[in-house]
Symmetry: C2
Subunit: 271 residues, 2 copies
């Protein structure tokens, strides 16, 4: 099944637009987990077991595993999700971008070495940087458009021909890069007006929306500006707000409560 | 010693602007090396031994190691260069770009886990994505500006306020992001007019120039448009043209000859 069909099926089954970001950070892990030789995996396993009925997808951020030299635990986490939360797909958040032959190696890394179902990609280098990912037609390719960080406007807001750079990216993805129907956009929750504009421009593209919770984006604004009828075209990511909701022995239950609360808040905004 | 001082010292000592790209690809490795359990490392070791007196820096492309699940050989290659080609710095070509806390993890990956002396970074997300790298003031941070690939103009050539996107990137780096004096630009050899324009805009920034050799960029155009007096502000990368110059048992000698030829060609264009 194609990635976005998987997302829609999981979202429908769990009545959820929630994507849980699996971004372990040794300094923030509960004491009970820290001592383990595979602390990131053990932590993720507990989070997945506690939240798998409440989400439409998971999104591990590769940087946390890379910085901690724990690539094996990233691979094991993705395998664990596939085996123990069947039907819930995994986005590997890598934001890669490089020229053709090199991008092909990164696609191989994400989809074959790690077994991810989707990947985030940076559009700055143009089509060459994105095509090797898009060519995996069963996989999702989620392209940075308007990102949630404070300085995202440094380049993304530059206006050319009456349209901001991020709008040019959205048009490229919508009109030229989506030949396999497997492309989507990253649009930050922290910029609701831009989210509304992009949804109007691209009513059918799925959006991955980070930035609610710790980064301050409003859930109701995201739903109002980004949701469309049905399930699967909006994935609202929360990482720290869910996985670090508790820090004691009951951290998994706290994560489950936080995921349920976010899911229900989203659904009540839709109603 | 700061990265760009290291480059200048190595360039002066070896009379060379050549950067050798260490991009091993199992399908292209000589038969004699392929059989080894650490084929990438053995290949790189032979290339480094044969070229270390002819270069100003090395640039392993992380994607090749990531795609082949050979991260350990990347780390060992960088250590080998530091021990056996002392004073020749290493750029880890990763083109990362992510928000603050995540970029900090990628900086840790490049500079601490792998021990690289410099890194390539993507500017699309703005200052947040670059600052955690720039904060390592001894390390070099080489920011994608005008890349060498065919579709690089998809976004980079969009004109805003009379200037192309890549010119805005150059201005940001020159005027705002270089507070530690450790920033530089990636400018492709395949776009000589843009290279000339950027050199005029940024006479003092070091440029890393990929795209000669297999990608078709002209050495004489690069030197004419990109070089300034002295050593260290131009690093001309060749990967396949050097490391795969030969495919037999004498591959290292062939690489040495190709590196010397490129070095001498560059120097004769400067004269």
């Amino acid at each position: 099944m194609k990635f976005f069909e998987q997302v829609a099926a999981a979202a429908t089954r769990n009545c959820s637009m929630v994507c849980v970001g699996l971004d372990p950070d040794m300094g923030k892990l509960p004491e009970a987990v820290k001592a383990s030789g595979k602390a990131f995996f053990d932590f993720n396993k507990a989070i997945v077991d506690a939240t798998k009925g409440l989400v439409c997808c998971y999104k591990p951020q590769a940087a946390f595993y890379a910085g901690a030299d724990r690539d094996g635990e990233l691979r094991d986490t993705i395998s664990y999700i596939h085996e123990n939360a069947p039907g819930v797909p995994v986005i590997l958040d890598v934001k890669r971008g490089d020229i053709g032959s090199t991008a092909a190696q990164y696609a191989k890394e994400a989809f074959e070495r790690y077994g991810a179902d989707a990947v985030t990609v940076n559009p700055y280098m143009g089509l060459d940087a994105v095509k090797p990912f898009l060519d995996y037609d069963e996989k999702g390719v989620i392209i940075l458009c308007r990102t949630s960080n404070p300085h995202s406007g440094d380049l993304q807001n530059l206006v050319s021909g009456g349209k901001a750079l991020y709008e040019h990216v959205a048009e490229l993805v919508r009109d030229q890069w989506n030949w396999n129907g497997n492309a989507a956009l990253v649009v930050g929750a922290t910029y609701p007006a831009e989210l509304a504009k992009l949804r109007k421009m691209c009513p059918e593209l799925p959006f991955l929306v980070p930035g609610v919770g710790a980064q301050g984006g409003s859930v109701s604004e995201v739903v109002k500006n980004g949701a469309t009828p049905g399930w699967g075209n909006l994935m609202i990511n929360s990482s720290r707000g869910i996985i670090f909701a508790g820090s004691g022995d009951d951290f998994a239950e706290a994560a489950s409560r936080a995921a349920r609360k976010l899911r229900d808040e989203i659904n009540s905004c839709r109603a």
